[in-house]
Each structure stands twice: as structure tokens, then as C-alpha cells.
């Protein structure tokens, strides 16, 4: 338990002056006490407020809800969890997970070149500015970013203006006529929703990849080149395997954030619930907190599984 007794004992009989001095001496002798004094307030917060709330939620997810009287009663039941596997609810889960997966792949494809370019081909001030130019959009107001896209995708908005300018209107209409991807307009299509999600979470993908690429030592690449590998071969056999944990680390964010989001599906895309919007509706307008809580368990379980997988792929060393 006390692992710090390796430090020099230096209480050279200095006579304790005043109460503070005496407390300090006690703390020095009893390392564990000092640790507990420091840890108790944050642990209380974490344990009582956060974990306590999670338990309160899990507990209430087993409460009963009467569909006719719309009243929650504290009779424990598994009906809410059973309902998760019903057709409509299963559709919601599949729809959300599919979007989260698509957004993750999309951000990795867009993000990797950005991270790679900044990490490998820029130096000094330019690198600093480019790094900041990825970090700033990440921290910029989420709700404003989502709002920006409702403006961009609107009829007569900038996307339609550019498309018309380039004479690509037929191409856009053709894409929107596709089954799953399309819709009656950009702002009511899955393509539009995908774009907004990818935009909002992209920096969360770029930064871990960037960090992973930065950690690949230059000497490895020189060795690879010395051994006769062409740049593409070096990339595929040295850089990509070494930076893949960074991609996985980024995907934890993009996947989990998409899975739990409930604002963007309200603003852009076709009708039909996401896990987040379902939780919000059940809790808000329906008043079925138990069902909302049961729905919240879905992302917890999926993300738990995903984290376990990511850990095996070495993503935590890349964070």
C-alpha cells in the first residue's frame, strides 16, 4: 500500500512550529492519509454524483410504465429491455449504429491525409498554425456548427448555389434519387446528415491520428527507404500499421459521439428516430423515463464492447 517509503527520511528533529507544521508532519508520516485527504472530495463527486446517477438511471430503467395512464410506477420489470428488441426499436438501434459506422469510416478517410500532411510535411510555425486550425473547429460551439449546416444545406443555400454554378444539378439530383443515401432534398437526406456528423466529429479523428504519426520515428522511415522500399511501400508496411491504433483511438470518439447524439438527427436528415432522439422523446414528451433509461443502456453496451475491441487493437496507447 505505501509505495513511497523509498524517499529520504529527513525529519531531522525539526521542532514542529504551529498547527500547520504539526499537520504537515503527520501527513508526511502517513502518506496514505495525505492521499485520502486529496482523493476524498473528487472521489465523492465521482462516486455520488456521477456513478450514483448512473445507478439511479439503471434502477429506474426497470420501473414500469403504464401506456394508458402514462404513469411510472416503481414496480420492477424487464419489459423495457424486452421492448428494445421489438421491430421498431431494433430499427432505431440499427439505423444509429450504421450511421455511426459510416461517419467513423468517412472521418478516417478525410482525416488521415490531413493528419499525415501536418505531421510529416510541415515544420515550425506552419505546423503550429495548421494544428491550431484543426483544434479550433473541434472546440468551436457544437450547436453553432450544427446550425451552420442547416444554413449551408438549405434550399437556395450555398451548396445548391455551387452545384448550379458548376452545372452539376443533375448529378446532385441523381445522388438524391438513390435509395438509402438520398431524400427529397439535401437537408432531408441521409447524405446530408452524414456530412454534418462527419464535419462535427472530424477533428476528434484527426488529432489522435496526428499524434500517432508524430510518434513514428524518422529513422524507421529512413531504414525502410535504405532497404529499398518505395514511398508507397513504406507507407503501407511501416506507417499504416504503426498509426492504425491512432485511427482506432479517433474512431472511439467519432463512433461514440455519433451514437449518443440527438441534436443533429433532429435538424438534418430524413424522419425516423435515432437512439438519442428516442431517449429525448421518451423522457420529454412521452414521460416514459424507464424506457428512455433502457434505451441509454444500448450505447453503453455497444461502446463498452467497442472499447474492449479498441484496447486489443492498442488504441489506448495512442490516446
Amino acid at each position: 500500500m505505501t509505495t513511497e517509503d523509498a524517499q529520504p527520511a529527513h525529519q531531522r528533529g525539526a521542532a514542529p512550529r504551529g498547527a500547520l507544521r504539526r499537520i504537515s508532519t503527520v501527513l508526511f508520516r502517513r502518506r496514505l492519509l495525505a492521499l485520502w485527504l486529496l482523493l476524498t472530495p473528487p472521489m465523492l463527486w465521482l462516486g455520488v454524483v456521477y456513478l450514483g446517477s448512473l445507478l439511479a438511471m439503471l434502477w429506474q430503467s426497470a420501473y414500469s410504465f403504464d401506456d394508458f395512464s402514462m404513469v411510472v410506477t416503481p414496480e420492477l420489470t424487464l419489459a423495457n429491455y424486452r421492448a428494445l428488441f421489438h421491430g421498431v426499436n431494433l430499427d432505431i438501434i440499427v439505423r444509429t449504429v450504421a450511421m455511426a459506422a459510416a461517419v467513423t469510416v468517412g472521418s478516417a478517410l478525410i482525416g488521415f491525409p490531413v493528419a499525415y500532411y501536418i505531421a510529416r510535411y510541415t515544420r515550425g510555425a506552419v505546423k503550429g498554425v495548421l494544428y491550431a486550425s484543426v483544434m479550433l473547429p473541434m472546440w468551436a460551439s457544437y450547436i453553432v456548427k450544427a446550425y451552420a449546416w442547416t444554413v449551408i444545406l438549405a434550399q437556395g443555400g450555398v451548396v445548391y448555389w455551387v452545384v448550379n454554378l458548376l452545372g452539376l444539378r443533375e448529378v446532385l439530383d441523381g445522388v438524391l434519387a438513390l435509395p438509402v443515401v438520398g431524400g427529397s432534398s439535401l437537408s432531408t437526406s441521409n447524405l446530408g446528415r452524414f456530412l454534418v456528423f462527419t464535419y462535427v466529429w472530424l477533428p476528434f479523428m484527426i488529432l489522435p491520428i496526428y499524434a500517432a504519426i508524430e510518434r513514428v520515428p524518422e529513422s524507421l522511415l529512413q531504414a525502410s527507404a535504405d532497404l529499398g522500399a518505395r514511398p508507397w511501400q513504406t507507407f503501407r508496411t511501416v506507417i499504416l500499421p504503426l498509426t492504425f491504433p491512432g485511427v482506432v483511438a479517433g474512431s472511439i470518439f467519432t463512433f461514440s459521439l455519433t451514437l449518443g447524439d440527438y441534436i443533429i438527427p433532429q435538424l438534418v436528415g430524413p424522419p425516423g428516430y435515432f437512439i438519442g432522439t428516442m431517449v429525448n422523446t421518451q423522457q420529454g414528451s412521452v414521460g416514459n423515463l424507464p424506457m428512455a433509461a433502457a434505451f441509454t443502456v444500448v450505447p453503453i453496451v455497444i461502446i463498452g464492447g467497442y472499447l474492449a475491441l479498441a484496447r486489443r487493437l492498442g488504441a489506448f496507447d495512442a490516446l
Binding site: 513511497e4 529520504p8 529527513h10 500547520l20 499537520i23 504537515s24 508532519t25 492521499l35 486529496l38 482523493l39 473528487p42 472521489m43 465521482l46 454524483v49 456513478l51 450514483g52 448512473l54 438511471m57 434502477w59 478525410i110 490531413v114 499525415y116 500532411y117 510535411y121 515544420r123 515550425g124 479550433l136 473547429p137 473541434m138 472546440w139 468551436a140 460551439s141 457544437y142 450547436i143 453553432v144 446550425y147 451552420a148 442547416t150 444554413v151 449551408i152 437556395g156 443555400g157 450555398v158 448555389w161 464535419y199 472530424l202 488529432l207 499524434a211 472511439i252 470518439f253 449518443g260 440527438y262 441534436i263 438519442g276 429525448n280 423522457q283 423515463l289 433509461a293 441509454t296 450505447p299
Partner: protein, 281 residues
């Protein structure tokens, strides 16, 4: 291409090899994608158009800024967001710093578990924290309002303060404190005169980030706010109202500025270590 002879170290050259053009194209396209939407929101705040989002805007004006400043509902939302952020920042910095001091330079059983516990509120989607707090308030029959919002925000702000302080402590050798104590300082004096001055900018950066994070938060807030309206909730409610489009646009760029300028400040304060960001919201 490699002009490394002068400096001796290859990495310190000013110009590295030039990127192949497809990579350059993809990278700049990605960066453009990140910034064009923000630039457009900024542009629309000056548009003379009153109800639609036509592009290009028919004309530019400063009129909407004046009108937005005269709206009392905006001011009360700003005030609430500011108060919540201040409260959450203070408690998060205190709790996060305590946790960081406890966990750095120590190894004990269960340390990793505790460290992971502090990260959990931002690792799991906000909706989980939100609905969990909502369920707990319901169970405890607590009426949602200012204090419940601040409580929720503190929960996910702790990790920001914690991360900044931990990163700084990692670079602070324990021998410094030992030296201070050898010279006769007690725990408190050593903390005040040796550790605290070193932590200064990390604490400030953590506080700025926590403030920005809280000021801008919407997901947890909707579940803990009851009938109160923070600025992001005001904005969200506004999106269904076409009448107020110009005012919404103005508030949007003000919120954007409020959320990005502090980040630049925090980045500047910790620029030697690049320890901020990356940890996610």
C-alpha cells in the same frame, strides 16, 4: 531536397521534402471543409436578408448586431450560461486539481481505475450523463434549475482541469518538492512556493477550457435545465423559428467567438507542451 547540413539535425531544417500533390490536395480540401462552414456562419450574420439563407447574401449590414444587443431574452440566457460556467469551472478546477495531485507521482492499487473514472463522463456520450442525472434528480425529487445545470457541467469539466494539471505535474520532478522540504519547508509551504507557481498556467488553461466547455454545452444541459434557458438552449429553440433568423445568426457568431477565443488563449498558455485538446469534449 533534404538540406540538413547546416543545422546538423535533419529534423530542424526549415523545409522538408515536398508532399506528393494528391496528398496536398486531400489535406487542404479537408482543412477547407473544416473552416468553410464557420466562415459562412460569420458571413450570414451580416446579411441583409431577413428570413432565408440565399447565397450569395443580397447585401451586408451591421443592423442585426444592434437588434440582438437590445433583446433581453438573449441577455438573460448569456447571464445564466456565464453563471453556470463560472460555478462549474471553480468546482471542476478544485476537484480536478485535488485528483491530479493525488494521482501523480504515486502508484497504488486501483489508480488506473480511478483515473478512468474521471474520464468516463466525457468518454461516454453526453446523453448518458444527461439522462442519468435527470433520473437521479427525479428519484431525489430535486427541482431542475441553476444548481442542477452547474452540477452536471462540473461532472464533465473535472477531467479537463485534471488533464491539464496532470500533464504539468508529470514534467515537475518530485525532487523539487523534496528539496524544498529538505530546506525546511512543510507540505503547505512547499506546495505554495514550489508546486503552485509551476501549476499556474496549467490551472488557468484548465479553467479557461472548462469555462468554454460549460458555456457551450447543450446535451447534458437539456436534461438538467428544467425550464431554464442557457445560451445554447436558446439557440436550439431558435432554430425552429424562421422569424428571428438574422438575430439567430448574430448570436451564432458571438457564441462561436466565445467558444474559440478562450481555446486560443489556453493553447498559448500551454504551448510548450501541447497538452490541451485531443482529449475530446
Amino acid at each position: 531536397m533534404r538540406s540538413s547540413a547546416k543545422a546538423g539535425k535533419p529534423r530542424s531544417t526549415r523545409h522538408g521534402p515536398r508532399a506528393p500533390w494528391p496528398l496536398r490536395l486531400a489535406a487542404w480540401a479537408g482543412l477547407l471543409f473544416l473552416h468553410v462552414p464557420i466562415a459562412l456562419v460569420a458571413l450570414y450574420a451580416f446579411s441583409t436578408e431577413e428570413s432565408a439563407f440565399g447565397f450569395p447574401p443580397p447585401g451586408l449590414t451591421l443592423r442585426w448586431f444592434g437588434e440582438a444587443l437590445g433583446r433581453s431574452d438573449i441577455w438573460s440566457a448569456v447571464a445564466l450560461s456565464g453563471k453556470v460556467a463560472l460555478m462549474a469551472t471553480i468546482s471542476a478546477v478544485v476537484l480536478g486539481t485535488l485528483a491530479a495531485l493525488a494521482l501523480s507521482h504515486r502508484t497504488f492499487r486501483g489508480k488506473d481505475l480511478i483515473a478512468m473514472g474521471f474520464i468516463l463522463p466525457i468518454a461516454l456520450p453526453g446523453i448518458i450523463t444527461g439522462i442519468a442525472l435527470h433520473a437521479a434528480f427525479r428519484l431525489g425529487e430535486i427541482t431542475p434549475g441553476f444548481w442542477t445545470i452547474a452540477l452536471g457541467h462540473t461532472t464533465f469539466c473535472i477531467v479537463v482541469a485534471y488533464n491539464n494539471v496532470v500533464a504539468r505535474l508529470r514534467r515537475l520532478p518530485p525532487s523539487l518538492v523534496e528539496a524544498a522540504m529538505d530546506l525546511g519547508a512543510d507540505h503547505f509551504a512547499a506546495f505554495r512556493t514550489v508546486v503552485l507557481p509551476q501549476l499556474g498556467t496549467a490551472l488557468l488553461a484548465g479553467a479557461i477550457l472548462a469555462f468554454g466547455l460549460s458555456f457551450d454545452e447543450i446535451i447534458v444541459t437539456t436534461f438538467t435545465a428544467g425550464h431554464e434557458r442557457t445560451l445554447p438552449i436558446w439557440l436550439l429553440n431558435q432554430l425552429g423559428r424562421p422569424r428571428d433568423v438574422p438575430i439567430t445568426n448574430v448570436v451564432a457568431i458571438l457564441v462561436m467567438a466565445a467558444s474559440t477565443l478562450p481555446i486560443l488563449a489556453a493553447w498559448w498558455l500551454t504551448r510548450s507542451s501541447h497538452d490541451i485538446g485531443g482529449s475530446g469534449k
